[in-house]
């Protein structure tokens, strides 16, 4: 008998643990969307919010590399300040701002998502600071020998596109329409990074992503330019927010993004000047 007691206890415990597991599952089932879309909002300094002045920047996921670098430059130029970033899908960020998230600066990957915020009178006079162009991304060894946009219409070639609801998908539709091509993708991904992953892993033969993403992949995928990309250029607007907790820093940061130094960082990452 005494031997069985621990076992019973274990059973009880294991029964108890089932309940939190269910909760966790339900929560993650419903909530994972936003999480999955935003490749980790990283803050550059964990001690943020102490006595130091903090600037909070909401920026599109495709700006992760460039804005992190500009954030470091900003902190060096303004000793004592800390820049916190929230990177994610522009649409999600816009929703968060409209719902009252305390942000100082918003940099979006499309004018449409910025409009959500300006329509709510939460940002004034956005400025276009960069442009992004589509490229065909193929695995480094290009197994299907894709070399132009027309190849994507070949039913034997597996193609991944972004869903039309997100900026890179809208741009892809525009480019394909401009070329008069009908492409049936195997998947419509939720953001450009997910689309790129499918190419990196060789699950698809080709995809339409931004040139900046091809450069950021560091040689794991090959980018191919195509003329119709010129018809589907994506503008990136930036604005200070009217309810910014740190309006002075916000203005300074936007100035940095628009400065030659900012342009430099963006160009190196593959963005075009507006």
């Amino acid at each position: 008998m005494p031997k069985r007691l621990p076992r019973r206890l274990f059973t009880r415990l294991s029964r108890l643990t089932v309940v939190p597991l269910v909760l966790a599952a339900t929560l993650s089932g419903c909530g994972s969307g936003a999480q999955d879309a935003s490749p980790s909002g990283t803050s550059s300094d964990p001690s943020a919010g102490g006595g130091a002045t903090t600037l909070t920047v909401f920026a599109a996921a495709s700006l992760t590399g460039t804005f992190t670098e500009l954030g470091k430059t900003f902190e060096a130029a303004n000793p004592g300040t800390t820049v916190r970033f929230n990177f994610g899908s522009s649409a999600t960020l816009a929703q968060q701002i409209v719902q009252g998230a305390p942000a100082d600066v918003f940099a979006a990957a499309s004018p449409a998502t910025m409009k959500t915020v300006t329509d709510a009178s939460l940002a004034a006079a956005p400025t276009t600071f960069a442009r992004n162009t589509l490229q065909i991304a193929v695995p480094a060894d290009n197994p299907a020998k894709v070399d132009d946009l027309a190849d994507l219409a070949n039913p034997k070639i597996k193609v991944a596109l972004c869903a039309a609801q997100v900026p890179c998908g809208a741009a892809a539709v525009k480019a394909l329409d401009a070329a008069g091509l009908k492409v049936t993708p195997v998947t419509l991904e939720q953001d450009v990074k997910a689309t790129l992953t499918k190419v990196e892993l060789g699950e698809v033969d080709a995809a339409l992503v931004y040139r900046t993403d091809v450069i950021a992949s560091g040689g794991k995928v090959k980018g191919i330019d195509f003329p119709e990309a010129g018809k589907a250029i994506n503008d990136y607007p930036v604005a200070t927010l009217t309810k910014a907790p740190a309006p002075d820093l916000a203005r300074k940061f936007v100035d940095l993004v628009l400065s030659p130094r900012g342009r430099d960082v963006l160009t190196k990452a593959g963005f075009d000047a507006p």
Binding site: M1, R7, R8, F10, T11, S14, R15, T17, V18, L21, V22, L23, A24, A25, T26, S28, G29, C30, S32, G33, Q35, D36, A37, S89, A91, T92, Q95, K158, A160, A163, Q165, V166, P185, V186, T187, L188, E189, Q190, A194, T197, K198, L201, G202, E203
Partner: protein, 270 residues
């Protein structure tokens, strides 16, 4: 023994506030977000949004894949739970810990892991593609695989718990009467733990139905093929938050209705 001593307390007096208060907070915490969805739902346009063919398509795909995933989990998970509960072998503890990996892993990472194994260039997927011409990513079968991967631990843990709580003396008695181990499993063990299996299957089904991350990563997102309701909800959120609310409510209503009706049928109580 512990049980029989405690039982009389169950109906005595009112429940202590020390338990009642957190329980009430717990209910509010779980139910309020649902209330939020109900309040924000665009009721006037609800009917026309529901009539969109893509909604029904995604809903049907969700129900079919979640059910197939649950069947697959039952087929593999019940024997696995039995192995963990009834057979002593080295490394059993480690194995039990490994089985919970899909619970801890962020689903998107689970999806990537599946791609690395079953993808077109994956360890096994490469071989499947070359010898059988089968590729799982971007197919409905791929959705079932992703859902089963994420949902199986729920089934295994509940069934194992039930097996451990079940009275092994009945199994021993059957064995002394000459029943083989398989017969004991079929005729004694399984009926004994049926409620645990059922509970596990329900959990498993619910988890599979809500699966997002592993599905979109491993199986992709294409209407009619791999776009389940959670995927449709997520993409609707990008442009039309209202449509996302409608889709979420549909998924909730259907799953609650199915679970409630199953409960009625199987246990005879509401």
């Amino acid at each position: 023994m512990i049980r029989s001593r405690r039982r009389p307390h169950r109906s005595q007096g009112r429940p202590p506030w020390l338990l009642l208060l957190p329980a009430t907070l717990g209910i509010a915490f779980l139910v309020l977000p649902l209330a939020g969805l109900l309040v924000r739902a665009p009721w006037p346009t609800m009917a026309e949004r529901l009539a969109e063919p893509q909604v029904l398509q995604a809903l049907r795909l969700s129900l079919v894949t979640a059910t197939l995933a649950t069947l697959a989990c039952l087929l593999l998970g019940v024997p696995l739970a039995w192995l963990l509960a009834r057979v002593t072998f080295p490394g059993r503890r480690l194995l039990r810990a490994l089985i919970t990996v899909p619970l801890v892993l962020p689903p998107v990472v689970g999806g990537v892991a599946l791609l690395l194994v079953l993808g077109r260039r994956g360890l096994i997927g490469q071989w499947l593609d070359e010898t059988l011409g089968v590729t799982l990513p971007f197919t409905t079968a791929g959705v079932v695989v992703a859902e089963a991967f994420v949902a199986m631990p729920f089934l295994v843990i509940s069934v194992e718990g039930a097996l451990r709580a079940a009275d092994t003396r009945l199994e021993e008695a059957a064995a002394t009467l000459g029943a083989s181990r398989m017969t004991v499993f079929r005729r004694v063990t399984l009926p004994l733990v049926a409620p645990g299996v059922l509970a596990g299957a329900v959990l498993c089904w619910a988890r599979a139905l809500g699966e997002f991350g592993a599905t979109i990563t491993f199986a992709g997102n294409f209407p009619g093929q791999t776009q389940t309701m959670p995927l449709a909800v997520y993409l609707a959120l990008e442009t039309e938050p209202e449509a996302a609310v409608v889709l979420s409510l549909v998924l909730l209503a259907v799953s609650v209705a199915i679970l409630a009706s199953l409960r009625d049928r199987w246990t005879g109580t509401a």
